[in-house]
């Protein structure tokens, strides 16, 4: 298990967003997190990436507790993510967006950057080379010098993945990466996600509403409903699970 979520509870005011959620993620697997809107999926990603701490319970990554660590430290440990509402650096170019992803793996400070010391210069070259390789890998080299805000949504989502890859994560959290994509783009995305697992040996947690994508690429699925875990298992098991079907279709009002 690369990631272990133990008894996580999170409330906002009186609202219980997550209630005693536990599951583990196997190294090198794709784990999907599904559930109706408001089930607490994004909240869980925000807790894993350190945006806010859980009220109860613990998250451990590579057998180390990461509770209460700041997002930047967690990024340094090897967890990176994308966002449900695209959070690109809109006024920076496509390449620069990826270069920011290198921040956590580089160290030139204010003075060595300002004086352009040799160490900062060679680091800058390395950042550029690495970022261009990522850009090539995700297939956005032709957009290199365009502003991120000028990209169509499909490429925005790919660029967010590229930016996350630049941090050299071992665990990647994808928050609804297919939302807003058309069918062709969704297929391209699913190919990319599988390549990340198979070529880069990444572990991926995928929050997604597109069931075809989820069933196609996930190794395991966790289903949340109103902050509770109602099922966990392989795609085939989940598809036939009575509780899951009820959660999605509603039980009484049909």
């Amino acid at each position: 298990m690369i990631l272990q979520v133990n008894d996580i509870t999170k409330t906002f005011g009186g609202l219980v967003a997550l209630e005693e959620i536990s599951f583990g993620v196997h190294k090198g697997s794709i784990k999907a997190l599904i559930g109706p809107n408001g089930a607490g999926k994004t909240t869980l990603l925000n807790i894993i990436s350190g945006i806010y701490p859980p009220d109860k319970g613990a998250v451990s990554f590579n057998d180390r507790s990461i509770n209460g660590l700041s997002p930047s430290i967690i990024a340094g440990m090897g967890i990176s993510r994308t966002f449900q509402h695209v959070e690109l650096f809109a006024n920076m170019t496509v390449l620069e967006n990826i270069m920011v992803g290198r921040h956590v793996r580089t160290k030139a400070g204010l003075l060595s950057c300002g004086f352009r010391l040799p160490s900062a210069r060679s680091e800058e070259r390395a950042i550029r080379t690495f970022s261009e390789e990522i850009l090539h890998y995700i297939g956005l080299s032709h957009r290199r010098d365009e502003k991120a805000s000028s990209l169509p949504i499909g490429e925005e989502r790919i660029l967010e993945i590229g930016r996350a890859l630049a941090t050299e994560p071992t665990l990647l959290l994808l928050d609804e990466p297919a939302s807003g994509l058309n069918e062709v783009e969704t297929i391209e995305l699913s190919i990319l996600i599988k390549r990340l697992r198979d070529e880069k040996a990444l572990t991926i947690i995928l929050v997604e509403h597109d069931m075809r994508l989820v069933m196609d690429i996930s190794d395991e699925i966790v289903v949340l409903d109103f902050g509770k875990k109602i099922a966990e298992g392989a795609p085939a098991e989940i598809q036939n699970n009575k509780l899951v079907i009820d959660a999605y279709l509603g039980e009484d009002d049909l």
Binding site: S72, L88, M92, V100, T106, F115
Partner: protein
């Protein structure tokens, strides 16, 4: 520095070096010197606001700390001026940290008000407890280095503008580096910047300190140039002026900060005919530049030039 930046830089530097020889009289030279001092503060605010996206209406506070600390240390403690300069910058940096830790949790208008309050506090302190109180004090030694005293307007002009060019080179390098990218990313999306490993709270403090140090150097240069300072030079109005420089010149351009500083420094000379109505014209310029050139002068000129290239 990138190639284009290097070219602009060399062209501007040449201009700076030959410019005084076309000027007549020491008055014009002193205006140019003030423009240089203001540019220094404006560059700092430009990095803080235009790149890092943090608002400050308190730059006059740091400017005042720079002037007062350096002047007092060199007069009362007999410190060499160069040393008092760096002590002034350190004092300003420390006060920036003290201000930044609580204030940078705030955003937008709230941050603006907090920094404005800081500026006012510094003003009150130097007004009440500063030497000479509201009427200020004089006999501040001229800037000197290795026994050479910069006591002619021409030497001080070169001192300021060559320092400014060095600061400019430093700032351009900074913006086009890992550090600068982190600043800009924080401006666009704090949450994503943080998730990419940028320690946003610490970065905010650092950039605040940087702008405070620039302003403090500006203040120290000012004090050791005019040799007489009083609190009125460090009031809220000065903070607003610096803000105007940055906005008029173009908030996302370091060159814009210099352009804005030159324009705003020259303005009172041009507006002399309007006498007491000059404040009205100031307001008109600020409002119209926000309405019609909200990107600022320099970015608009660059855009035009690019369009021109494509057109032909």
């Amino acid at each position: 520095m990138q190639i284009t930046n290097r070219r602009i830089f060399l062209a501007f530097f040449t201009l700076v070096l030959v410019f005084p020889f076309f000027l007549e009289g020491s008055y014009a030279l002193s205006i140019a010197t003030f423009a240089g001092i203001n540019s220094l503060i404006a560059i700092g605010l430009c990095i803080l606001m235009g790149y890092a996206g943090q608002v400050s209406l308190g730059q006059a506070g740091f400017y005042g700390i720079g002037a007062y600390v350096s002047a007092i240390l060199s007069i009362n403690f007999g410190l060499p001026v160069v040393l008092s300069f760096f002590m002034a910058a350190a004092a300003s940096a420390i006060s920036a940290v003290v201000l930044a830790i609580p204030a940078l949790r705030l955003k937008g208008h709230y941050l603006a008000v907090a920094t404005l309050g800081f500026g006012e506090i510094i003003y009150v302190i130097i007004n009440e407890w500063g030497p000479g109180g509201p009427s200020g004090f004089g006999d501040i030694p001229k800037f000197n280095l290795f026994g050479y005293v910069f006591n002619t307007p021409l030497s001080y002009y070169f001192l300021i503008w060559i320092t400014l060019m060095l600061v400019m080179a430093f700032s351009i390098n900074l913006i086009n580096s890992r550090f600068g990218r982190a600043l800009r990313s924080m401006h666009d999306s704090e949450i994503a910047s943080n998730a990419m490993g940028v320690d946003v709270p610490t970065l905010k403090i650092k950039v605040f300190v940087l702008s405070a140090v620039y302003a403090a150097f500006g203040g120290a240069f000012y004090a050791h140039y005019v040799t007489f300072i009083s609190p009125s030079s460090f009031s809220l109005f000065q903070s607003v002026l610096v803000l105007m420089m940055v906005v008029v010149g173009g908030i996302t351009s370091l060159w814009g900060a210099i352009a804005g500083a030159i324009i705003i420094t020259l303005l009172p000379e041009i507006l002399r005919e309007f006498k007491e109505y000059d404040i009205l014209v100031y307001g008109l310029i600020l409002i119209s530049s926000l309405l019609f050139f909200n990107k600022g002068l320099v970015p608009i000129i660059i855009e035009r030039l690019k369009k021109g290239y494509k057109g032909t």
